[in-house]
Every structure is written in structure tokens, then in C-alpha cells.
Subunit: 130 residues, 2 copies
Amino acid sequence: MNIRSDDIRDDDGLCEVIEHDEAALAVARAAVPADGHLKRARDLFDALGDDTRLRIVAALARTELCVCDLAQVAGVSESAVSHQLRLLRNLDLVTFRRQGKRAVYRLADECVRDLLSSALGHVAEGGGVR
Amino acid sequence: MNIRSDDIRDDDGLCEVIEHDEAALAVARAAVPADGHLKRARDLFDALGDDTRLRIVAALARTELCVCDLAQVAGVSESAVSHQLRLLRNLDLVTFRRQGKRAVYRLADECVRDLLSSALGHVAEGGGVR
DNA sequence: ATATCATCTGAGCGTATGTTCATATGTTGA
DNA sequence: TCAACATATGAACATACGCTCAGATGATAT
């Protein structure tokens, strides 16, 4: 399907390089997830790749919270939180139940907790601020 | 520091709600990482929250590759890949060595591999396309 | 029903982001 | 040195994003 215009190179004798190249390319192509999985993983990472949402999710990883409390924790307006919660809802990362006037949110997917603790673990180790 | 304007509510008798609320808030505040760690984690997730970069990183998780091969794998121009590689370099997520004219890139941080496999694992389980 | 509170939503706005294009830099071989 | 190739970079452009603001929706209590 993908035609490499540089399959034949004028490298003369450097067969090793070419072979290694082709082998690596094959491995690499196989390593890239199919579109569906790639998109889902990208959405996951993208959801966590924002200060406000990361704060929201980090908080919800420990306890369920209503919108106004999430706004306090995240340090933004309740409207801003609501918008971000909709995004997280659409990705099925959070759910909520109504409690009186409140909407109490909690994590809907364990993988978020996993990714979060994994990332924070690595950050705490050696990948500090630099 | 943070003054809650709604510390005193006109909820009359619903003390339980108030107490739960305050307790949850305290837990939540403690759960949110300090700025430095938060920023680093956010950068990490943000780096992976893009199709092109995710393809690049997924490929590099298996083998080192030069720029032009990464362009093939990611399905974008070599210039676009170069820009994204600079971003990943600035976050210390990838490094490269020169091999002749080529710049051979590889992952610089194990945590990327971890996060990637963790996310893809979860995706493969039940968090499919939906 | 009305008032109040909590949340949600769409529009608008400024900024950030990813790509392309043209060009610069750097490396190799003639 | 020069030509060819691989990569890097800056400017420009279109799009995506996150926030604010105003107003809508929904729930509770009077």
C-alpha cells in the first residue's frame, strides 16, 4: 500500500543500513496501534493533558465531588469545570449521580486512576521539574 | 488561603452533607499534586495526546528510527515529524544519535513506554471504540 | 407558583497547536 | 569545493481549545 520511493538507495555497499532500516520499519509499523485503539488512547492522554482536567481527575481519583467543590479544587469557575466535565463524560471517564441540587461526580474508568498514579509515580521518581 | 464563601450554608439540618463535603474537599485538595509534579504529568500526557506524536512514540517504543522512517510510520511529512520530535526532545522524552546523515531517535524515558502499554492495555480490554 | 441554588449550555473571544512551505544547517561522497 | 541528501527551523495559516459571559434547565424549599 505504502510505496517507499527510497526503496532503492544509492548507498552503494551499505546493505546493513538498508536491511536494518527495513526491519525497523516493519517492526515500527506493527507497533503503531490500529486506528480505533490509537484514537481511544489519544483521547485518554489528551483528556489528562490539561491542567484543569488533570486536577479534576486527580481529585476524583480519591473521592467523589460535586461541581462547585471541583471548581474550588481545580481553581477555575464552575462553568469552566462543567465544560470540562462534559468532555470527560463524553469520553466515559467520569459519571455522576444527582444528590439534591448537586451533581456528584466520580471516576467511571479505573484506567484513569492507573494512568494517573503511573505518571505521578514516574514524575516523583526522577522526572522532576528539571 | 482559600476562603469558601459558602462555608455557612442555609441547609438547616443537613449537617451530614456539609461534613462529608468538607471532608471530601480536604481529601481532594490533598490529592491534587503540587504544581511542579502536576505540570510534568500534564506535559507527559499532553505529549501523548496527539495522533502524530502517539504514533511516533508507539513506534519508538519498539525500535529506534530515523526521521524519514518516522514520517512514513506517522503518515505525515518529515518536517512535521521534525517539529514534533523537537517538542518530545524538549520534554526529554526522546533522544537521538547521528548515524551518517541520519538522526536516529529513540525513547529517552522508560515512563513513556510504561504509560503507553498501560493505556493500550486498558483500551484493548474493554474501553474499545464504543 | 416563585425564589433560590446548582448545574448546564451555546456563543464569542483570545490563545495555543499542528501543519505546510521555504529556507537554513549539517553530513557525505565526488 | 560542490552537489545531493537528511534534518532542522522560522513564518504563516487554519483549526482546536479553554475560558468567560449570559442565559437556560432542573431541583428544592417557602
